[in-house]
């Protein structure tokens, strides 16, 4: 078992005490990133930061702990791009005007958001937006900002795609949003595709990471797991964009 796997298991047993179940996955943390006690405080911590206040367009993962942030993003008049679970149906654009007043908290639930928002292709995303801030959950994160997700690598893929189409660059801040028990003291070297976070936000603290490693290679096609290309429509779109010379290749 690698260091990452062992740490993930240890964190999960602590997380179990503070996590909220998912409607379908219950407490099976291998399938989802849970909401947790204190996520409201963590959301307040994040939304008090200038990098949130100044952001007009956020990329936010569909993790359950980010429901309150997604809600606040609507209330604060910002646009959000949210990936569908497993990126199986690509990306969703949710604008404040898409949400009837009073329904912000429901509009951002996974069972609702695809009806409230609309799907957006990478091409359209590149044409209309620049992403100012990315926020993701994690299973665990080291103090140096190296995340471990569910082990599926979705956020790193999302970063790579957004980078390759030019809506983010190496300066765009990435925030990891976790419970305190998910911050670990492991000294991990980032792998080439690891998107290291600039900030870690928890219910009780803010940790800044100096010079976080940000991949600039775009999608590493030969590192994709089997089935990913078939399952993830934006990857196929990106291949076509590359082939037509419309999306930057490595470097």
């Amino acid at each position: 078992m690698t260091d990452r796997t062992r740490t993930r298991q240890q964190v999960w047993s602590e997380l179990r005490a503070v996590a909220k179940p998912d409607s379908r996955f219950h407490f099976d943390f291998g399938e989802y990133i849970p909401d947790f006690e204190g996520s409201e405080a963590a959301t307040e911590r994040l939304t008090a930061m200038d990098l949130y206040k100044d952001a007009q367009v956020l990329f936010i993962t569909p993790d359950n702990c980010l429901e309150r942030l997604r809600t606040q993003t609507v209330r604060d008049g910002k646009v959000q791009i949210v990936s569908t679970y497993g990126i199986r149906r690509g990306l969703v654009e949710l604008r404040p005007e898409d949400v009837p007043p009073g329904l912000e908290r429901f509009a951002v639930l996974l069972d609702v958001i695809e009806d409230m928002g609309r799907y957006i292709s990478l091409a359209e995303l590149a044409q209309r937006y620049r992403v100012d801030l990315l926020v993701t959950g994690a299973s665990a994160v080291s103090r140096a900002g190296v995340r471990f997700g569910k082990g599926h690598g979705f956020f790193d893929l999302e970063w790579a795609m957004l980078y390759q189409i030019g809506v983010v660059d190496a300066e765009t801040p990435v925030v990891a949003f976790v419970h305190d028990c998910q911050v670990v003291d492991l000294d991990l070297e980032p792998r080439p595709f690891d998107t290291v976070c600039d900030w870690i936000v928890t219910p009780t603290r803010l940790i800044q990471v100096q010079n976080p490693h940000k991949p600039v290679s775009g999608v590493l096609w030969d590192m994709l797991k089997p089935g990913m290309l078939e399952d993830i429509p934006p990857l196929r779109e990106l291949q076509e964009l590359e082939a037509s010379g419309l999306a930057g290749t490595k470097g």
Binding site: K20, S23, R24, H26, T84, R88, G102, F106, L109, V112
Partner: protein, 242 residues
């Protein structure tokens, strides 16, 4: 592939043309029962039935095609009982007063139930009143009201739990709501644990089930793999009670 698998696969191929993906399971119909075009018409058909109108306590499965019916139960101020997905965390209780006006549609989703509903474990469920009506989805069902499935469905297990607790009887009405393509004319004996439905409602019609199969009256534990019992706390409790 055996004949049953062929039937199921054919139905699912057709169903995908009319269905909506699940937020998490996408198109994996082994993991969920989808919403489909016309599900709202099924809801209206059920809502117009006398057996719905006089029902006070309605059990509705968490299938995606029944979200609009679950919302309708709230609008009609019925007591709604919904199992958690795969019965992993018992059942949910949801009543009109739990949901602010205008939020019924959200409360009826699986994510919404987590926000609004009250958990019911075995003891709380057992101490409640009997149920007046059960509504379920199905993957594939025949005109006799028998599910075409190699294994018991979650509804079969839910029926057995409710029957064992005395909350339903043989004549408690059971309605299945499915898309027309999910209703087949393929004769099939129910699984030993398999329940049957009384009425099948599709977007185009309502049909009385033609079969004579009784609904199971008791759990026959020898037909339940231990793995299934282990994952469903209510079943485990029932087993331990003896």
């Amino acid at each position: 592939m055996n004949e049953m698998q062929t039937v199921r696969r054919r139905v699912w191929q057709e169903l995908q043309r009319h269905a909506r993906p699940d937020s998490r399971y996408h198109w994996d119909f082994t993991a969920f029962i989808p919403d489909f075009e016309g599900s709202q018409r099924c809801t209206e058909t059920v809502a117009a039935m006398e057996l719905y109108q006089r029902a006070q306590r309605v059990f509705v499965t968490p299938d995606n095609n029944l979200a609009s019916l679950r919302a309708r139960c709230l609008l009609d101020a019925k007591t709604l009982i919904v199992p958690t997905y795969a019965i992993r965390r018992g059942f949910w209780l949801l009543e009109r007063q739990d949901v602010p006006q205008g939020q019924e549609a959200f409360a009826a989703t699986l994510d919404g139930l987590e926000v609004f509903a009250t958990p019911l474990d075995l003891d709380r469920l057992a101490s409640g009143d009997h149920l007046d009506l059960l509504v379920t989805g199905a993957s594939v069902i025949n005109s006799e009201g028998v599910r075409i499935s190699p294994t018991p469905s979650y509804f079969d297990l839910e029926w057995l739990i409710l029957r064992t607790l005395g909350l339903v009887e043989q004549d408690t009405p059971v309605v299945a709501c499915v898309h027309d393509c999910q209703l087949v004319d393929w004769p099939c004996e129910p699984h030993p644990l398999g329940s049957v439905v009384d009425l099948i409602v599709t977007p185009t019609g309502a049909y009385e089930a033609t079969g004579e199969h009784p609904k199971p009256a008791a759990i026959r534990w020898e037909h339940l793999p231990w793995q299934v019992v282990a994952e469903i706390p209510m079943l485990r409790r029932l087993y331990e009670r003896g």
